[in-house]
Symmetry: C2
Subunit: 152 residues, 2 copies
DNA sequence: CGTGATAGGACTTATTGAGTGTTAGCGCCA
DNA sequence: TGGCGCTAACACTCAATAAGTCCTATCACG
Protein backbone atom coordinates (compact mmCIF):
# COMPACT_ATOMS: atom_id res chain seq x y z
CA UNK A 1 0.00 0.00 0.00
CA UNK A 2 2.93 2.32 -0.33
CA UNK A 3 4.96 3.53 -3.24
CA UNK A 4 8.62 3.11 -2.35
CA UNK A 5 11.26 5.75 -2.86
CA UNK A 6 12.92 3.44 -5.32
CA UNK A 7 9.86 3.24 -7.55
CA UNK A 8 9.27 6.96 -7.37
CA UNK A 9 12.89 7.72 -8.26
CA UNK A 10 12.89 5.21 -11.10
CA UNK A 11 9.85 6.73 -12.76
CA UNK A 12 11.19 10.23 -12.35
CA UNK A 13 14.52 9.26 -13.89
CA UNK A 14 12.78 7.66 -16.86
CA UNK A 15 10.61 10.71 -17.36
CA UNK A 16 13.62 12.97 -17.25
CA UNK A 17 15.32 10.78 -19.83
CA UNK A 18 12.26 10.99 -22.04
CA UNK A 19 12.21 14.76 -21.71
CA UNK A 20 15.89 15.04 -22.64
CA UNK A 21 15.18 13.09 -25.78
CA UNK A 22 18.09 13.51 -28.07
CA UNK A 23 20.49 10.98 -29.48
CA UNK A 24 23.11 12.02 -26.99
CA UNK A 25 23.18 9.93 -23.80
CA UNK A 26 22.36 11.72 -20.55
CA UNK A 27 24.76 11.43 -17.64
CA UNK A 28 23.49 9.99 -14.40
CA UNK A 29 24.62 13.10 -12.59
CA UNK A 30 22.40 15.33 -14.70
CA UNK A 31 19.40 13.14 -13.97
CA UNK A 32 20.21 13.25 -10.29
CA UNK A 33 20.37 17.03 -10.05
CA UNK A 34 17.37 17.57 -12.32
CA UNK A 35 15.14 15.30 -10.24
CA UNK A 36 16.83 15.70 -6.87
CA UNK A 37 17.78 12.08 -6.43
CA UNK A 38 20.87 10.90 -4.46
CA UNK A 39 23.39 10.19 -7.19
CA UNK A 40 24.76 6.92 -5.91
CA UNK A 41 21.35 5.50 -5.23
CA UNK A 42 20.25 6.56 -8.70
CA UNK A 43 23.11 4.64 -10.26
CA UNK A 44 21.86 1.57 -8.47
CA UNK A 45 18.43 2.09 -9.91
CA UNK A 46 19.72 2.78 -13.40
CA UNK A 47 21.58 -0.51 -13.20
CA UNK A 48 18.33 -2.34 -12.57
CA UNK A 49 16.59 -0.46 -15.35
CA UNK A 50 19.38 -1.43 -17.69
CA UNK A 51 19.13 -5.04 -16.58
CA UNK A 52 15.42 -4.95 -17.38
CA UNK A 53 16.18 -3.61 -20.82
CA UNK A 54 14.47 -0.26 -20.34
CA UNK A 55 17.59 1.86 -20.77
CA UNK A 56 20.86 1.53 -22.66
CA UNK A 57 24.10 2.72 -21.13
CA UNK A 58 27.28 3.95 -22.65
CA UNK A 59 30.57 4.31 -20.87
CA UNK A 60 33.34 6.76 -21.36
CA UNK A 61 33.68 10.50 -21.64
CA UNK A 62 30.59 11.00 -23.81
CA UNK A 63 28.72 8.26 -22.00
CA UNK A 64 25.47 8.20 -20.12
CA UNK A 65 22.00 6.67 -20.39
CA UNK A 66 19.23 6.78 -22.94
CA UNK A 67 15.89 5.01 -23.30
CA UNK A 68 16.08 1.61 -24.93
CA UNK A 69 12.79 2.16 -26.76
CA UNK A 70 10.30 4.88 -27.43
CA UNK A 71 8.93 6.59 -24.32
CA UNK A 72 5.39 5.97 -25.49
CA UNK A 73 6.10 2.24 -25.42
CA UNK A 74 7.11 2.21 -21.77
CA UNK A 75 4.37 2.21 -19.13
CA UNK A 76 4.80 3.28 -15.54
CA UNK A 77 4.04 -0.31 -14.62
CA UNK A 78 7.02 -1.50 -16.64
CA UNK A 79 9.29 0.80 -14.69
CA UNK A 80 7.93 -0.21 -11.31
CA UNK A 81 8.18 -3.90 -12.11
CA UNK A 82 11.79 -3.43 -13.17
CA UNK A 83 12.84 -2.16 -9.75
CA UNK A 84 10.25 -3.64 -7.40
CA UNK A 85 9.10 -6.87 -8.96
CA UNK A 86 5.41 -7.73 -9.33
CA UNK A 87 2.86 -5.03 -8.57
CA UNK A 88 0.56 -5.41 -5.60
CA UNK A 89 1.79 -8.44 -3.78
CA UNK A 90 0.28 -9.77 -0.58
CA UNK A 91 2.91 -10.55 2.04
CA UNK A 92 5.57 -10.52 -0.64
CA UNK A 93 3.93 -13.17 -2.81
CA UNK A 94 1.31 -12.97 -5.56
CA UNK A 95 -2.20 -12.83 -4.06
CA UNK A 96 -3.34 -16.05 -5.67
CA UNK A 97 -0.70 -17.98 -3.76
CA UNK A 98 -2.17 -17.16 -0.39
CA UNK A 99 -4.53 -19.58 1.26
CA UNK A 100 -7.74 -18.13 2.64
CA UNK A 101 -9.75 -20.34 4.95
CA UNK A 102 -13.45 -20.31 5.52
CA UNK A 103 -14.79 -16.91 6.37
CA UNK A 104 -12.08 -14.94 4.59
CA UNK A 105 -12.40 -16.83 1.33
CA UNK A 106 -13.75 -13.76 -0.47
CA UNK A 107 -10.77 -11.69 0.62
CA UNK A 108 -8.72 -13.03 -2.24
CA UNK A 109 -11.17 -11.46 -4.67
CA UNK A 110 -10.77 -8.16 -2.87
CA UNK A 111 -7.00 -8.19 -3.26
CA UNK A 112 -7.39 -9.14 -6.92
CA UNK A 113 -9.71 -6.19 -7.39
CA UNK A 114 -7.16 -3.92 -5.76
CA UNK A 115 -4.51 -5.17 -8.12
CA UNK A 116 -6.84 -4.71 -11.08
CA UNK A 117 -7.54 -1.10 -10.24
CA UNK A 118 -3.89 -0.43 -9.62
CA UNK A 119 -2.97 -1.88 -12.98
CA UNK A 120 -5.57 0.15 -14.77
CA UNK A 121 -3.69 3.26 -13.77
CA UNK A 122 -0.04 2.33 -14.05
CA UNK A 123 -0.35 0.21 -17.18
CA UNK A 124 -2.22 2.91 -19.02
CA UNK A 125 0.10 5.79 -18.28
CA UNK A 126 3.32 5.84 -20.26
CA UNK A 127 6.56 7.60 -19.55
CA UNK A 128 5.86 9.82 -22.54
CA UNK A 129 2.50 10.83 -21.05
CA UNK A 130 4.09 12.04 -17.84
CA UNK A 131 6.94 13.79 -19.62
CA UNK A 132 4.51 15.72 -21.81
CA UNK A 133 2.15 16.45 -18.94
CA UNK A 134 -0.74 14.99 -20.94
CA UNK A 135 -2.28 12.08 -19.07
CA UNK A 136 -4.97 9.83 -20.51
CA UNK A 137 -8.47 11.16 -19.92
CA UNK A 138 -9.48 8.36 -17.56
CA UNK A 139 -6.53 9.10 -15.31
CA UNK A 140 -7.11 12.82 -15.32
CA UNK A 141 -10.68 12.17 -14.32
CA UNK A 142 -9.56 10.27 -11.24
CA UNK A 143 -7.07 12.92 -10.23
CA UNK A 144 -9.59 15.70 -10.69
CA UNK A 145 -11.78 14.55 -7.83
CA UNK A 146 -10.91 16.96 -5.00
CA UNK A 147 -11.77 14.29 -2.43
CA UNK A 148 -8.75 12.35 -3.56
CA UNK A 149 -6.36 15.12 -2.64
CA UNK A 150 -7.04 14.93 1.08
CA UNK A 151 -5.13 12.54 3.29
CA UNK A 152 -7.42 10.28 5.19
CA UNK B 1 2.46 -1.37 -3.84
CA UNK B 2 2.35 -4.28 -1.47
CA UNK B 3 -0.15 -5.44 1.06
CA UNK B 4 1.71 -6.22 4.27
CA UNK B 5 1.22 -9.36 6.29
CA UNK B 6 -0.07 -7.23 9.11
CA UNK B 7 -2.84 -5.72 7.00
CA UNK B 8 -3.80 -9.09 5.57
CA UNK B 9 -3.93 -10.68 9.02
CA UNK B 10 -5.91 -7.81 10.46
CA UNK B 11 -8.60 -8.03 7.83
CA UNK B 12 -8.81 -11.79 8.16
CA UNK B 13 -9.17 -11.54 11.92
CA UNK B 14 -11.95 -8.98 11.58
CA UNK B 15 -13.76 -11.13 9.04
CA UNK B 16 -13.50 -14.15 11.26
CA UNK B 17 -14.92 -12.09 14.12
CA UNK B 18 -17.79 -11.00 11.92
CA UNK B 19 -18.48 -14.58 10.90
CA UNK B 20 -18.53 -15.76 14.52
CA UNK B 21 -21.11 -13.15 15.24
CA UNK B 22 -22.70 -14.04 18.52
CA UNK B 23 -22.79 -12.10 21.75
CA UNK B 24 -20.06 -14.31 23.13
CA UNK B 25 -16.55 -12.93 22.71
CA UNK B 26 -14.13 -14.96 20.59
CA UNK B 27 -10.76 -15.92 22.02
CA UNK B 28 -7.61 -14.78 20.22
CA UNK B 29 -6.42 -18.36 19.99
CA UNK B 30 -9.52 -19.42 18.10
CA UNK B 31 -9.03 -16.62 15.59
CA UNK B 32 -5.40 -17.64 15.21
CA UNK B 33 -6.13 -21.27 14.42
CA UNK B 34 -9.13 -20.49 12.21
CA UNK B 35 -7.18 -18.09 10.03
CA UNK B 36 -3.71 -19.58 10.49
CA UNK B 37 -2.12 -16.52 12.05
CA UNK B 38 0.78 -16.68 14.55
CA UNK B 39 -0.91 -16.23 17.91
CA UNK B 40 1.54 -13.79 19.46
CA UNK B 41 1.61 -11.57 16.43
CA UNK B 42 -2.17 -11.64 16.26
CA UNK B 43 -2.40 -10.40 19.84
CA UNK B 44 -0.27 -7.44 18.80
CA UNK B 45 -2.61 -6.71 15.93
CA UNK B 46 -5.73 -7.08 18.04
CA UNK B 47 -4.25 -4.55 20.42
CA UNK B 48 -3.97 -2.02 17.62
CA UNK B 49 -7.48 -2.77 16.42
CA UNK B 50 -8.73 -2.24 19.94
CA UNK B 51 -6.82 1.02 20.18
CA UNK B 52 -8.48 2.18 16.97
CA UNK B 53 -11.88 1.34 18.41
CA UNK B 54 -12.71 -1.39 15.92
CA UNK B 55 -12.92 -4.22 18.46
CA UNK B 56 -13.86 -4.53 22.11
CA UNK B 57 -12.01 -6.90 24.39
CA UNK B 58 -13.09 -8.73 27.47
CA UNK B 59 -10.77 -10.36 29.96
CA UNK B 60 -11.23 -13.36 32.13
CA UNK B 61 -12.40 -16.92 31.77
CA UNK B 62 -15.21 -16.13 29.33
CA UNK B 63 -13.20 -13.38 27.67
CA UNK B 64 -12.18 -12.70 24.09
CA UNK B 65 -12.80 -10.16 21.35
CA UNK B 66 -15.85 -8.92 19.51
CA UNK B 67 -16.51 -6.21 16.96
CA UNK B 68 -17.09 -2.76 18.41
CA UNK B 69 -19.74 -1.97 15.82
CA UNK B 70 -21.71 -3.65 13.11
CA UNK B 71 -19.59 -5.45 10.53
CA UNK B 72 -21.41 -3.62 7.74
CA UNK B 73 -20.17 -0.33 9.22
CA UNK B 74 -16.50 -1.28 9.02
CA UNK B 75 -14.71 -0.99 5.69
CA UNK B 76 -11.54 -2.80 4.75
CA UNK B 77 -9.91 0.61 4.54
CA UNK B 78 -10.75 1.26 8.19
CA UNK B 79 -8.97 -1.92 9.19
CA UNK B 80 -5.88 -1.23 7.11
CA UNK B 81 -5.60 2.32 8.40
CA UNK B 82 -5.83 1.05 11.96
CA UNK B 83 -2.73 -1.09 11.60
CA UNK B 84 -0.78 0.62 8.82
CA UNK B 85 -1.64 4.28 8.91
CA UNK B 86 -2.66 6.20 5.78
CA UNK B 87 -3.30 4.28 2.57
CA UNK B 88 -1.07 4.72 -0.45
CA UNK B 89 1.81 6.88 0.67
CA UNK B 90 4.75 7.85 -1.49
CA UNK B 91 8.09 7.37 0.28
CA UNK B 92 6.27 7.21 3.61
CA UNK B 93 4.58 10.58 3.25
CA UNK B 94 1.30 11.65 1.63
CA UNK B 95 1.78 12.12 -2.14
CA UNK B 96 0.87 15.79 -2.08
CA UNK B 97 3.88 16.52 0.13
CA UNK B 98 6.41 15.41 -2.46
CA UNK B 99 8.04 17.94 -4.71
CA UNK B 100 8.13 17.13 -8.39
CA UNK B 101 10.42 19.21 -10.57
CA UNK B 102 10.04 20.02 -14.20
CA UNK B 103 9.49 17.01 -16.37
CA UNK B 104 7.95 14.85 -13.65
CA UNK B 105 5.40 17.42 -12.59
CA UNK B 106 2.51 15.28 -13.85
CA UNK B 107 3.67 12.32 -11.82
CA UNK B 108 1.90 13.65 -8.75
CA UNK B 109 -1.41 13.32 -10.55
CA UNK B 110 -0.58 9.74 -11.40
CA UNK B 111 0.02 8.84 -7.77
CA UNK B 112 -3.19 10.60 -6.79
CA UNK B 113 -5.04 8.55 -9.38
CA UNK B 114 -3.53 5.39 -7.96
CA UNK B 115 -4.69 6.34 -4.51
CA UNK B 116 -8.15 7.14 -5.82
CA UNK B 117 -8.55 3.76 -7.45
CA UNK B 118 -7.22 2.01 -4.38
CA UNK B 119 -9.70 3.79 -2.18
CA UNK B 120 -12.59 2.93 -4.46
CA UNK B 121 -12.02 -0.70 -3.65
CA UNK B 122 -11.10 -0.81 0.00
CA UNK B 123 -13.52 1.88 1.13
CA UNK B 124 -16.44 0.24 -0.57
CA UNK B 125 -15.93 -3.28 0.69
CA UNK B 126 -17.00 -3.89 4.29
CA UNK B 127 -15.99 -6.62 6.67
CA UNK B 128 -19.56 -7.93 6.46
CA UNK B 129 -19.26 -8.18 2.68
CA UNK B 130 -16.21 -10.39 2.89
CA UNK B 131 -17.62 -12.53 5.70
CA UNK B 132 -20.78 -13.22 3.72
CA UNK B 133 -18.89 -13.76 0.49
CA UNK B 134 -21.10 -11.18 -1.26
CA UNK B 135 -18.95 -8.37 -2.59
CA UNK B 136 -20.37 -5.21 -4.15
CA UNK B 137 -21.07 -5.57 -7.85
CA UNK B 138 -18.38 -3.13 -8.92
CA UNK B 139 -15.74 -5.12 -7.05
CA UNK B 140 -16.90 -8.44 -8.38
CA UNK B 141 -16.71 -7.04 -11.85
CA UNK B 142 -13.05 -6.17 -11.37
CA UNK B 143 -12.21 -9.56 -9.91
CA UNK B 144 -14.04 -11.40 -12.67
CA UNK B 145 -11.62 -10.29 -15.36
CA UNK B 146 -9.42 -13.36 -15.92
CA UNK B 147 -6.55 -11.12 -16.98
CA UNK B 148 -6.29 -9.90 -13.43
CA UNK B 149 -5.59 -13.34 -12.06
CA UNK B 150 -2.27 -13.73 -13.79
CA UNK B 151 0.92 -12.46 -12.26
CA UNK B 152 2.71 -10.11 -14.54
C1' DC C 1 -8.70 -17.19 45.60
C1' DG C 2 -7.18 -19.56 41.55
C1' DT C 3 -7.67 -20.33 36.74
C1' DG C 4 -7.71 -18.58 32.29
C1' DA C 5 -7.74 -14.92 29.46
C1' DT C 6 -6.22 -10.17 27.63
C1' DA C 7 -2.67 -6.11 28.01
C1' DG C 8 1.24 -4.56 26.44
C1' DG C 9 5.61 -4.27 26.53
C1' DA C 10 10.56 -5.67 25.39
C1' DC C 11 13.09 -8.40 22.59
C1' DT C 12 14.93 -11.21 18.06
C1' DT C 13 15.42 -11.79 13.29
C1' DA C 14 14.92 -10.90 8.40
C1' DT C 15 14.18 -7.94 4.76
C1' DT C 16 14.73 -3.96 2.22
C1' DG C 17 15.38 0.80 1.64
C1' DA C 18 19.03 4.15 1.38
C1' DG C 19 23.47 5.48 0.74
C1' DT C 20 28.89 4.88 0.02
C1' DG C 21 33.21 3.34 -1.89
C1' DT C 22 35.80 0.84 -5.12
C1' DT C 23 36.69 -1.30 -9.53
C1' DA C 24 36.87 -1.50 -14.25
C1' DG C 25 35.90 -0.07 -18.95
C1' DC C 26 35.82 3.58 -22.65
C1' DG C 27 37.43 7.35 -25.56
C1' DC C 28 40.24 11.08 -26.26
C1' DC C 29 44.64 13.27 -26.78
C1' DA C 30 49.45 13.81 -26.53
C1' DT D 1 50.14 3.76 -28.65
C1' DG D 2 50.03 4.53 -23.98
C1' DG D 3 48.25 6.96 -20.26
C1' DC D 4 44.61 9.91 -18.18
C1' DG D 5 40.19 11.64 -17.01
C1' DC D 6 35.73 10.49 -17.50
C1' DT D 7 32.00 7.26 -16.99
C1' DA D 8 29.20 3.11 -15.65
C1' DA D 9 29.28 -1.17 -12.87
C1' DC D 10 29.39 -3.60 -8.84
C1' DA D 11 30.13 -4.87 -4.04
C1' DC D 12 29.33 -3.41 0.30
C1' DT D 13 27.66 -0.87 4.73
C1' DC D 14 24.26 1.27 7.60
C1' DA D 15 19.58 2.22 9.20
C1' DA D 16 14.77 1.54 9.43
C1' DT D 17 10.92 -1.20 9.31
C1' DA D 18 8.32 -5.45 9.18
C1' DA D 19 7.47 -9.81 11.11
C1' DG D 20 7.37 -12.71 14.67
C1' DT D 21 8.48 -14.26 19.78
C1' DC D 22 8.40 -14.14 24.64
C1' DC D 23 7.55 -12.62 29.22
C1' DT D 24 5.00 -10.51 33.02
C1' DA D 25 1.32 -7.84 34.83
C1' DT D 26 -3.53 -7.45 35.27
C1' DC D 27 -8.15 -8.44 35.23
C1' DA D 28 -12.74 -11.22 35.38
C1' DC D 29 -15.38 -14.79 36.65
C1' DG D 30 -16.66 -19.03 39.04
Amino acid sequence: MRISAKADYAVRAMVELAASASEKPVKAERLATAQDIPLNFLENILGELRHAGLVRSHRGAEGGFRLAKDAAEISVADVIRAVEGPLASVRGAPPEESQYNGASEALLRVWIAVRANLRHVVEEVTVADVASGKLPKSIDKLADDPDMWVTR
